[in-house]
Amino acid sequence: MKIRESVVKIGLCSSSLMAVAALFIVVAYVFFNGAGIINLSFLLESPYRFEYGGIFPQIIGSLCLVGICLLFAVPLGVASAIYLVEYAPDNIVTASVRFFIECLAGIPSIVIGLFGLVFLVYRLGLGISMLSGGLTLGFMILPWTVRASEEAIKTVPYSYMEASLALGASKWQSIYGVILKSAYPGIITGILLGMGKAMGETAVVLLTAGSGLESFLPQSILDPVASLPVYIYMLATQGHTEASYSRAFGASLVLITMFLIISMFAMFLRNRYISRNSGF
């Protein structure tokens, strides 16, 4: 009996280790195949066809897209969250706003990409551009910023609000000066997670922002823009040579590194936030 228990326990343990192993195998494989190609000129030069040059425009393009995405999604998301938590009356309008934001979170990214293509690219005539891509990414992460900000605002004790109101501050002054000040690490964590999601998203960018192989830096927000994920996609599916595969590994490694930095920063912020809120 005792032996059976420990056998099962080892089985359970090994299945959880498989998840860890999957992460390590993928990251290690990408690292060992990509590390060889990464040097300063790979990071700072423009690509030339599939096999030559570097990925500078791709890195800058990805950062620009994420920047536009955040400029759109963060103000709108945080404002919506403040309204939903602090102001919203308990009525049908509020309930349906919540419902639709939840819906948006459930829409597959490819569908949001199609919407960006028909609405922004064709209907509004923005073309295949940085602006279209960034805004469509913004639609995609908006529900996450709303949700994360709501959670963060809700964790601020109500007594803070009461204390501020009792000191004579108006409702907005209390929210701005007290609630947001205490909630901001949580909000930033949520934004960072959304940022990681936007950075790795391929389908949306492929449909709305450009083909990924552009060798120039965007001159305006209405130019098509290159990005790391689409670059990887192009090299992986249309390169068919060792040189282009190793470039794709290099770009993957850069993408994963950017992502890991963002999510470690997010975890760090969250842990500090939790320990502070638990009275540490």
């Binding site: 228990e5 326990k9 359970l12 343990c13 299945s15 959880s16 498989m18 998840a19 860890v20 999957a22 992460l23 390590f24 993928v26 990251v27 494989y29 990408v30 195949n33 709108l76 998301g77 404002a79 919506s80 403040i82 309204y83 919203a88 349906s96 706003v97 639709f100 934001i101 819906c103 948006l104 459930g106 829409i107 597959p108 990214s109 490819i110 569908v111 949001i112 199609l114 919407f115 028909v118 064709y122 639609f139 108006s170 907005w172 997670l193 999601k197 790795g200 998203e201 391929t202 389908a203 449909l207 994920p229 996609y233 595969y245 794709a248 590994f249 993957s252 993408l255 999510s263 975890m267």
Partner: protein
Amino acid sequence: MNKVNVEWVIEKLLFISAISSSFIVFFIIIFMLHEGIPALAIGWDFFFGMDWSPSNNQFGIFPIVVSTFVVGIGSLLIAAFIGIPAAVYLAEFSPRWVHSIVKPCVEMLVGIPSIVLGFFGLMVLIPLIRDSLGGWGECILAGWIILAIMTLPHVISISEDSIRAVPKAFKEASVALGATELQTIWKVILPNARSGILASLILGMGNAIGETMAVLMVIGNPNIPWIPSSILEPVSVLTSIIVIGINYAAWGSMHQHALFAIGIVLFAIVAILNAITTTVIRRGVS
């Protein structure tokens, strides 16, 4: 008086933000329907037609829908088979230090960009399958494995939370009656955590069906899809057919309308799965 006005304006601005956030969904639905309706209007031949061949004006998506479910359900079974035991271990047995290593890794796994996972699959899994099992290499099996890796973290996290949510008293009562730890887990903890685990699986399925790039790169995407008869055959799924086709579809052609209609079908499937998840969770709570 002035201060009251500022407050009023700010409240209205916040209200407008919240409303416009939810309006995006309306816009998405309206535009998708507007572009998709000409193809949806084909009716029976669209939903149950067996031939997808845009160059011959054939737009039957039935084989694609079947393949999508085959890929989604298979990957979910793999993820459940690994993820639920892992969740039990993390919630019930893991020492603190193991938990503090495994949990962040699981969270990181969510975020590995899908394109990188797909590329990994293309470079590693496909040659492996081709050499050991034969066939093209790009096949349903490869899609299952890649999607299982993507779904696994969701299954583990939500299942672990719902196992932890089972009141300690239940477990203590069971142990006090002389049950072993494993008997307790099997007979007491898992039945009580059932709704959360089920919810994680349905949600995982929704994610798997909506996932695009990783799947696209490993399943082969034959130009004319058919209903697969073996897991070593290449298939097309709803998401991959959109990405591959959208470059070739002339704007305003029936092909383009059909791709948007596929987007609507995808949206509907995922929305239904999400609605089921919500109901399951709600029923579990009450």
